[in-house]
Amino acid sequence: MDLRAEDVDPNESGEEDEDETPAEKRLRLAKLYLESVKEGLAEGEFDAAEIDKELISARLKQDVLEHAGKLHLFIADSFDLSQAPPTLRTRGHRFSVTSAVASEDGRHLFTSGKEGSIVHWDLRTGARLATFPKLRPPKGKQKAGAPDAAGHTDAVFALALSGDGRYLASAGKDRRVGVWDVESGAWVKAFSGHRDTISALAFRKGSQQLYSASLDRTVKLFDLSVMGYVETLFGHQDSVLALDALRSETAVSVGGRDKTVRFWKIVDETQLVFRGGGRSSVRELLEGGALEGLDEEEKEEKEEKERKERKEQKRFVEGSLECVAMIDETTFLSGGDSGSICLWQTHKKKPIFTQAIAHGFNEVHSETEGLIRTPRWITALGSLRYSDLFASGSYSGDIKLWKVDPKIRSFSQVGTVGAPGVINSLQFISPPKGSLDDLTWAQDERSVKTPTSKVTSVLLVAGVGQEMRLGRWVTVKGDGTRNGALVVALHPRGLH
C-alpha cells in the first residue's frame, strides 16, 4: 500500500480526525499497513509486488550499509555446521590449485594451478566448461617471456573476478597480469609492468579497478574500464604475498618477511604501517609418567614435581605474514607462519586480538630431537564481506570458521569444514536468493528455507592442493588430498 497522501481519500477513511497532523496521519496509516501485511501473510493473501519492493528495499538498505563501510551482518551463528555441509569438489589440475574464485552471482568458478592452466567450471552443476592451458613460450625467448602470447607461459598464482562478473584477471610467474573475458573466454589484454612474480590480485568491489601485488615489493593499480595502468605503490620491504580490497579506494597488503601489513590509502598517496611479528607463547603441561602403584601423598608430590619440571613455555615468533582479509573498511585480519591470526583496526598500530596456534601443531618424530612440534602456518584467509564470519585455512586438514565478536574486540571458532590438503585460497560469496536453488549439488534438507528467512546461504570456495602456493615448504600427500577446488554451501539453520 502506498503511503502517499494523494491516494488515501481523507473523506473515505473512518478513523480520521479533522485536526490530525500529517505525521500522525502517516503513523496511523503505517500501523494499518503493518496489520494488513500480517493478516495478509497469515491468510496467504499477499501481493507479489509488495514482497518484491521489500526485497528491493532490503537490498538498498544493504547497499547503504555497505557504502558506509561498516560491519553490519551478524550472521556467523546462524549457520548450521552440525553435519557436514554439501560440498562440490572439482578436479582437473595436474599440480596444486593456487587460486579458486567464484563469481558473485554463483554461476562461474575459475581455478588456476601451479602448472599454469586456468579452468572454467559451471558452479551450478560442477561441470568443466573451458580450459586455458599454459602456452609454450616461442623458441629462443624462454626466459624473457613472450609479451604477445595470448595466455600465460608459467605458473599462475592468483585469480580475481570483477564485481560485475565481466572480467577475470590472472597472474603468476610470467610477470604479466592477464585479463580474460568471462562470457567468451577470450584473452583481452596483458599488463606487463611487474618485474617479478605476481603473487596476488584483487578487484575493487563494484568497480573495474584491479590491484596486483608482486614479489618485486610493489602493488600496482590497473583500470580495466580503460584497460590502462594507473600507478604503483611502494613501501614493502619484502615480497608482497597477499592483497585484499573492498569498496573504497583502499587496499590492504601483507609483506612476507618484513612482517608488516600495509593499508594503502590510494587517494592520499599514503600508507599505514601495521607491524606484526609478535610472539605467541603456549604453556604445555605434558602428561606425567606412571602414577599407579603410589600412595596418595606420593602421587601428589610426583604430580607437582612433574608439573614444575615439565611445564614448558614455548614461544613461537612470527617470522612472516602470509595472508590478509578485509572484514570492513577499517577492520582486517592477517595470518602468519606462527599459526597466529591477528585482528587489526586502522586506528591502532597493534593487533586488537591475536589467536595463537590457530591450526594446531605439526608433529614430526625425530631420532635425535624427539618430538618436534611446529605450529602450522596460516596459508589462506577469507572473509564474508561486512559480516562477522571468516574462514582460515592451513594444512591441518580442515578449514576453520570463526565469528568476530559484535564489539569487534575478539573472535572465536564456530565450526570446521573438512578439507584435506593445503588450502591455498579462500573466498566467501553470498549469491542472491534465487540463484542458490540452481546449485544441483548444494541441495539439502537444510536448504529449504522459508521466505522470511533473512540469512541467505553462503558459499565458501577454497583452492586446495598438495603443495603451498608460492613454494614447496610443505607438501601434503595421501589421506585423500586432491588438487582441486572445494566449494562448500553453508545453509542457515532452519526455523523450528
Binding site: 615489493r217 611502494f234 613501501g235 614493502h236 619484502d238 600508507q271 591502532k348
Partner: protein
C-alpha cells in the same frame, strides 16, 4: 560532434598519461592565478620558488609536484603513516654491523689541551724506551756485522742490506735519544727561569716576560752547561770549535766569487789561494769567533 571526437580521443589515452596531464594543468592553473594577481609580487615569487630548481642558463627545469606533508599522528597508538610513492631498494641489511668510529685524540675535546709539563711527566718513560732501543739496535748491528764478515757469497748481499738498514735505524734511534736529552735540558732551564719569575712575583719584585732572544740565549747556555756536566770544560771547547768550523765551511760555500790572493809573492799561498778561493777578509769571522769563546 566535436565533443564526441574529443571524448573518443581521450578515452584511448592511457590512464597514467591522463593523470599526468591533469596534474600539470592544475599546476599551470595555479601559476596563472598567481600571475593574474596584480599586487602579489610575493605570490609570484613564491610560485617561482615552487617551480623548482632552474638551470644555470636560466631555463626552468620541470618542477616536481609539491610534496604533500603527511600529518603527524595524533595518538601514539595509531599506526605510522608514510608516503607510498617512494621506491624501496632491494638491498637489505640482514646483520647489523657496527660502524667503526675513528677518533683522533688530537682533535677530541675529551682529550683536553696539550700541556708540555704534564705530557713529560706522564710519558717520560718513552725516553727510557728510546735508550733501550738504541742499546738493542747497537747490539744487533754488531752481530749483523760479524755475520756479514763470516758469510758466504750467496747470502752476502742480503746481509749487507740488513747491515745498512740497521745502521740507518741506529742513526734514527741515536737522534731520538739526543732529542730527548736536549728537550729535557731545555725544559729544565725554562722551568727554572719561570720558577724564578714566580718567586720574584711573590716577593714583590717586578717580573719580566722572557723575550724570545733571551730565551734563545738561556737555552744555548743550558745546552753547553749540560755538555760541561757530562764531559767537562774540554768537551765544551771542542763542541764550540766544531760548531765554528761548520759555520765557516758553510759560509765559504755560500760565497759567490773566489777570494783574491792575499800574498802575491808567496807561492805556497798562491797554490793555496788557487785551491781555495777566498774573499776579502773583513774580520767578521774573527769577531764571531771571539764572541763565541
Amino acid at each position: 560532434m566535436l565533443t564526441h571526437f574529443i571524448r573518443a580521443g581521450l578515452s584511448s589515452l592511457p590512464f597514467g598519461a591522463l593523470r599526468k596531464a591533469q596534474r600539470q594543468l592544475t599546476r599551470a592553473g595555479a601559476d596563472d592565478n598567481d600571475s593574474r594577481d596584480e599586487d602579489s609580487d610575493a605570490a609570484s615569487h613564491d610560485a617561482d620558488l615552487d617551480r623548482g630548481p632552474s638551470n644555470a642558463k636560466g631555463k626552468e627545469v620541470e618542477a616536481r609536484p609539491s610534496r604533500k606533508q603527511i600529518a603527524h599522528r595524533q595518538n601514539k597508538h595509531a599506526p605510522t603513516e608514510m608516503s607510498s610513492k617512494r621506491p624501496v631498494s632491494r638491498h637489505r641489511t640482514v646483520v647489523e654491523v657496527e660502524k667503526r668510529v675513528l677518533r683522533d685524540p688530537r682533535f677530541l675535546a675529551l682529550a683536553g689541551e696539550f700541556d708540555a709539563q704534564r705530557f713529560r711527566k706522564q710519558y717520560g718513560f718513552i725516553a727510557d724506551l728510546h735508550q733501550d732501543e738504541l742499546k738493542t739496535l747497537r747490539e744487533n748491528l754488531k752481530r749483523a756485522k760479524k755475520l756479514l764478515a763470516s758469510s758466504p757469497r750467496e747470502t752476502r748481499e742480503e746481509r749487507q742490506r740488513e747491515v745498512t738498514r740497521l745502521e740507518l735505524t741506529v742513526k734514527r734511534a741515536e737522534s731520538s735519544v739526543n732529542r730527548d736529552k736536549r728537550e729535557k735540558v731545555e725544559q729544565d732551564a725554562l722551568s727554572r727561569a719561570s720558577k724564578e719569575e714566580r718567586e720574584k712575583r711573590q716577593t714583590g719584585k717586578g717580573q719580566f716576560w722572557l723575550k724570545d732572544s733571551e730565551k734563545k740565549k738561556l737555552l744555548l747556555k743550558a745546552r753547553y752547561e749540560a755538555v760541561a756536566a757530562e764531559g767537562g770544560k774540554g768537551a765544551v771547547k771542542k763542541a764550540i770549535e766544531k760548531k765554528q768550523k761548520k759555520l765557516s765551511q758553510k759560509e765559504t760555500k755560500s760565497r759567490p766569487f773566489p777570494r783574491a790572493p792575499r800574498d802575491a809573492s808567496s807561492s805556497r799561498s798562491q797554490e793555496q789561494s788557487s785551491k781555495r778561493p777566498r774573499t776579502t777578509d773583513d774580520g767578521y769571522a774573527q769577531r764571531k769567533r771571539q764572541k763565541a769563546a
